[in-house]
Amino acid sequence: MNMPTIPSVTCPVCGSFCDDIELTIKDNVITDVKNACAVGAAKFLSYANPHHRHVKPLIRKNGELVEASLDEAIRKSAEILTDASYPILYGWSCTSCEATRLGLELAEEVGGVIDNTSTVCHGPSILSIQDVGISTCTLGQIRHRADLVVYWGSNPWSAHPRHVERYTTFSQGRFQTSAWRGYVSRVAATLTKKRLLRAANLILMRDVPAPPEIDRRLPPTLLQKKRKMIVVDVRRTRSAEAADYFLQVEPNKDYELLQALRLLIRDEEIDVDTVAGVPTEILEEVADVMINCEFGILFFGLGLTMSEGKLRNIDAALSLVRDLNYRTKFVIMPMRGHFNVTGANVVFTWTTGYPYAVDFSHGYPRYNPGETSVVDILCRGEADAGLIVASDPVAHFPREAVQNLVKKPLIAIDPQVTPTSLMADVVIPSAFVGIEAEGTAYRMDRVPLPLKKVVEPPETCLPDVEILQRILHEVRRLKREGKA
């Protein structure tokens, strides 16, 4: 029997949005996945595991989560939100833009604070882009034209596994050829070195292997007129091993290194021997490589936004690229990680004027990250209820913030069993957007893509859009009755 194959499915996992996924479906179950990375395949093949997803609404009674009807869960959620004076509505990165738009309407209706996951991701990048400005482009431009790709504080191999293959160094562009072959020969050389080192360790009976010698010199491939990749990070990652050159910076010293590179690119001199653990002469050579490329791209990740300096690190990175544009063509792009987090920013912005951390408590949108951002609100213990949609702050927020989040009534709208749903007072199971529900989502370069519905969700799991519509309807009804 022929099983239907669905081509060109967009993967709902990371910001790369690989849209060449092929799914084989039998009896409403995904049985095979082609072209996806390990994480994408894990999602498509495991999402329906009954042990790890909610199919029935739950309400906490006497300390235990017990099954409830959907109407009951919706009513309870609406009551929690209308009773609260300063609720937070958080998440939105793993759902569609349509659901986010409804979330904003709900936030305005209940006078709460709405924030998305960029607050603990590329929030500082957004603040910095608002200050400095950004010269950027779409991923297609990079695929076809970029001959120098720099990943700074980012490990695409782990966080965006097909990014290098689809959009940058290993992609076959119209004007740039893939650097895949060079990588294969480098891997072969590295493996041989590792084998020799292992043999030496065995012969010398070392219980802890001697660390490999690090050659800081720039390889000749970096000076050639072809596609090349540099990784700057505090530790040697798998992405660093795939790069032509790895520049290791000391933790929390990215700002110094970026400013030093700016000096060199402006032909000024540096009076010290090393900056952030990197010898100045190496930096001079890296600056030369950057100036001499034809089209360079700097992708930066959370290594910059989460370390000391935060938005100031991004200021320096954006300014570095601005300086480079006096010498050559260079662009910069944040490595947006979480599925539709870019879409959440876009929808927040066109709806309220602000990309995240929007406070409706005064009746109009206010934006002041540090004050109206959700981690700060939680750490100050100000929120008196929470609605979490398609996100897991209990797993990923610092302990102090989580402790204050779970103290107050908490609603979770999520298809998966997560630490947040386990700690919630109301759990409303939803359909997986991009698998069981349609929608629109934005790729990391702000290109909107449609998401497909490829299988039917369980009957009790509605799409986020419908759940939010029903909560909004109920909130309005309660408010009307309250006034009457």
Partner: protein, 132 residues
């Protein structure tokens, strides 16, 4: 017990990515997240072997995780824990007015913890965030 001052990094790994898709209550998730990647020389200095438990303490709390040898040493005095509830117990919640806590480059102290247990996810939630 010997102790070592280190810089704590947290971040994504491909195993963490797959683990969260298998389900956060799955063994795969626990195995990929309740760990600490260490430099082999640091492990030797502490007298810790692969898969033995270590306790990491910062100004904001402490967590017990399994030590694993880093595949990409050397990175002396630098430890890495994938994002997840175990790492969240010890990161710096202060945002310095930006909204963003410090998840990377947090000063920490690491020590062997042979008698302490790495909590399962439900146990961790119960111990640290119990609902009143």
């Amino acid at each position: 017990m010997p102790k070592l001052n280190v810089s704590l990094l947290t971040g994504r790994t491909i195993d963490q990515g797959c683990g969260k898709e298998y389900g956060k209550l799955s063994q795969e998730y626990w195995r990929s997240v309740a760990i600490c990647e260490m430099d082999p020389h640091d492990m030797k200095e502490l007298g810790v072997k692969e898969n033995e438990n270590v306790k990491i303490t910062t100004d904001y709390g402490s967590t017990v995780v399994r030590a694993v040898k880093s595949a990409r040493a050397p990175h002396p005095n630098m430890v890495f824990i994938p994002y997840g509830p175990w790492a969240s117990l010890i990161v710096n919640p202060r945002t310095h007015g930006t909204g963003m806590p410090s998840f990377k480059g947090v000063p920490a102290q690491i020590e062997p913890a042979p008698k302490e247990k790495v909590l399962g996810l439900r146990e961790l939630l119960q111990e640290h965030y119990r609902k009143e």
